[in-house]
Amino acid sequence: MIVRAALLAILLFIAGPALAMDPGEQLPDATQEAKAEALFSELRCMVCQNQSILDSDAPLAKDLRILVRERVAAGDSPDAIKDFLVARYGDFVLLKPRLNEQTALLWAVPVLVLVIGGFAVVLNFRRRNAVADQTLSEDEKRRLEALKANDAG
């Protein structure tokens, strides 16, 4: 009995980490729920360290999940929901930054490195093959002929 009471006391005391998602949060409509969950992984839990609201157990993440689900249930498109959240919390909320003048370089780098790197490789090939394919100069040809003639004779 004492153990039971102690257990209860402890259980009530712990307000520690909840689940990343609580039972009963989900929307009844499975397709809507899937749509909402796809969005969760693209939204940041702003008070967490690099977690999406799908993974986080913070109260803010839960509030955001509920908000997103409400919007999805109301029929908003994913982009409209993101617009709404960006208007409210800034670009920081998006884990996948939108392409704009601020993030152009971020999105361009992978392609740029490939293109510039590929270009450098091709250029290097051509230059080195040009060196390798160099034909004999007139003088060298004459000496080669002379050697051949010597051998034959």
Binding site: V3, L7, L11, P97, Q102, T103, V121
Partner: protein
């Protein structure tokens, strides 16, 4: 007293490092054997003194000496012994001491095993190694002294961060650091080669085993960290594209590129300049990783240090080493002569493609990690760069690289035959297509991309062995002959095939565990089972469990299949007494390569029910088995004959006696 001895040992190590930074270099210039050989003594001496310092700090932890600030902040007398020991590096100062210990260990190893190196090269390498040691010993002594005392000493310590009280801490950082720091050897060889202005195939043969060793430890370290996060953080993710993870991924990617380009250099004397640059970049990225994690620029679980002085100090080290080595490279790279020519379709060409894609991948991770910091510093705007960005950019690069992996080993050096290679791979491609079709059929739902990616994984696994099949003439000659041929193959051929197959294995695990996982979240009381993956999960009991420094609320579940109990699972919520912090201790049950992952949420006020998140992760263990295979392949290559017998000494160009006239 012991702490002071440790502190003083660090000072002595610094003195030796300073000597080793200058004297061997001078000796190499004057070709003076006596001066050059001082490096051997100082390298061993550094190892001895830093070991002494490390031993002193460990002693302070084990005996719970609370007059040492570091012990007070990170330990507790009731902490189990293993965490007292691993707690030595579970904090900023201690982990930097471990970093330096591994650095001097590697330096001593170069001195001991480098007997077959040309004398001047060895002296220069050890000197460069000592520059790095000097910088980091200074950093320890000036900005993060692990031996600082506190007076009066408190009676009890503040305990270690609960997330770090895990066997993972004992293994993960040492593995990772051997990887990070191991790349310093490649760096020192590169800088030494630039100082000498001379580089040849033998250089690559010396650098490759060191790089391979560092690489395989880093591979294991990253995998270990990933598995640790998977079971400890409690929601079953295994890679988060967290800046700290990226910090270890960047040197891994660059190091992988370096391994491959050094191969070209060793075999064909081509790609010299590029290999030297990669060696510099790889270690620079290791230093950058150290800076990112240690400076507290990024705030995450790993950043124990939130001290701008430290950040600035490491930034200066970073700038000096990266800037200095790149400047040296710019000055001297032209002196390095280019070697063998090759056609675009050839083994060399394939390895160039490998390097191009790996470089682009490294750049992507780098820019994704630093962009938010740079943007905020520039105009104060905060953006997030998270998993969806990396999936969209790094993902395609990785897929392109993996598609090419089986082709590389099938192409001949100098000039390869792509059609011939494709013909060798049709079985692998057929199996891959079959696997993709089966996956699409069985899974039904899930991402559209999952089935083809699973097919790609099979293609990589099977295709990796195509070269071995070819070289053993399997199925074309009697099996006995094939086996004899197989045992005659160099171990590096087996190592390469296994490492490549490991990539496919890891990819298969990633795809299966993300696309085909099952999840149930529910409030569970006794007698209301959760049905998951053909099994039922029933709550058996909720109870309390005591440990010396924490208290667990445990929910015991029975896992049944067809009515029979297969196993019991005990997920818990753990409260640490000293820090009053609660962590989620997930329970994992393994079935083959798949796992059932159960974590707890809120407990009902009357203690009769608990919120449960049960996840079925098919083939999830392959994610970490793949890297283990890769590391094993690396180890196999390392024991290859050409490294065991030692590289042949290049014939010294005899000084041509010029007759006096």
């Amino acid at each position: 007293m012991i702490a002071e001895a440790g502190h003083f040992a660090l000072v002595l190590a610094l003195a030796l490092a300073l000597i080793q930074s200058v004297v061997p270099l001078w000796g190499a210039r004057r070709n003076d054997n006596v001066l050059m050989s001082t490096a051997d003594g100082t390298a061993i001496g550094q190892l001895a003194f830093v070991s002494l310092a490390f031993g002193a700090l460990t002693a302070a932890y084990v005996s719970s000496d609370f007059s040492v600030v570091n012990v007070v902040d990170n330990s507790h007398s009731a902490k189990p012994l293993i965490y007292k020991i691993s707690g030595v590096w579970g904090n900023h100062e201690g982990s930097m001491l471990l970093w330096v210990l591994i650095l001097v260990l590697v330096g001593a190893a170069v001195s001991l095993f480098g007997g077959n190196l040309p004398r001047t090269l060895k002296a220069n390498v050890l000197a460069v190694q000592a520059w790095i040691a000097t910088a980091f010993l200074l950093f320890l002594l000036i900005a993060s002294n692990p031996f600082a005392r506190v007076d009066p000493a408190p009676f009890e310590g503040k305990d270690l961060n609960p997330l770090l009280q895990d066997p993972g801490l004992a293994i993960h950082p040492p593995l990772l650091y051997v990887g990070y720091v191991g790349f310093s050897v490649a760096f020192s060889f590169a800088v030494a080669a630039l100082i000498e202005g001379r580089i040849d195939a033998a250089w690559a043969r010396w650098v490759r085993p060191w790089t391979l060793t560092a690489w395989l430890f880093l591979t294991l370290g990253i995998a270990m960290g990933s598995y640790w996060a998977y079971y400890e953080l409690g929601w079953g993710g295994f890679w988060f594209w967290d800046p700290v993870e990226n910090a270890s991924l960047m040197p891994w990617l660059a190091g992988t590129a370096l391994l491959h380009s050094a191969l070209v250099m060793e075999k064909r004397e081509a790609l010299k300049v590029w290999t030297v640059l990669l060696a510099i970049l790889t270690f620079s990225l290791s230093l950058l990783g150290t800076f990112l994690v240690r400076s507290g620029v990024l705030t995450s679980v790993h950043a124990f240090a939130v001290d701008p002085m430290r950040g600035l100090f490491i930034l200066i080290i970073l700038a000096v080493f990266v800037g200095g080595s790149l400047a040296l490279f710019a000055l001297r790279a032209r002196d390095l002569k280019q070697g063998g020519l090759f056609a675009p379709v050839s083994r060399e060409g394939a390895l160039v493609l490998n390097n191009l894609l790996l470089t682009a991948a490294t750049a992507t991770v780098l820019v994704g990690t630093l962009y938010p910091l740079a943007l905020e510093a520039l105009n104060g705007n905060k953006i997030s760069v998270g998993a969806p960005y990396f999936n969209a950019t790094f993902g395609p690069l990785a897929v392109a690289l993996l598609c090419a992996v089986p082709f590389g080993p099938l192409l001949a050096w100098k000039r390869g035959d792509l059609v011939w290679a494709v013909q060798r791979l049709w079985i692998a491609a057929g199996l891959a297509a079959l696997a993709a079709a089966a996956a699409a059929f069985m899974a039904g739902q899930g991402s559209v991309l999952a089935a083809p990616v699973a097919g790609l994984a099979i293609f990589v696994i099977v295709g990796s062995f195509a070269e071995l099949v070819e070289r053993t003439a399997l199925f074309r000659v009697p099996l006995g002959n094939s086996l004899r041929r197989a045992s005659g193959l160099p171990r590096s051929a087996w190592g390469g095939a296994l490492a490549h197959a490991g990539l496919g294995v890891a990819l298969l695990g990633i795809v299966a565990a993300t696309a085909w996982s099952e999840e149930h979240i529910d409030m569970v009381g006794k007698g209301k089972p959760i049905e998951i993956a053909g099994r039922s999960l029933t709550l058996d009991d909720i109870f309390l469990r005591e440990a010396p420094n924490h208290q667990d609320v445990v929910a015991r579940f029975a896992v049944r299949k067809d009515g029979l109990v297969q196993t019991m699972m005990e997920p818990a919520k753990r409260t640490f007494r000293t820090r009053q912090m609660t962590t989620t201790e997930a329970a994992l049950a393994t079935f083959g390569f798949s796992q059932l992952y159960v974590s707890l949420g809120e407990v009902a006020p009357d203690g009769s029910a608990v919120a449960v998140r049960a996840q079925w992760k098919p083939l999830v263990l392959l994610i970490w088995l793949g890297p283990v295979l890769m590391a094993f392949g690396g180890m196999l290559s390392l024991t290859d004959r050409r490294y065991r017998v030692g590289a042949p000494r290049p014939a010294r160009r005899a000084a041509v006696a010029v007759p006096a006239e």
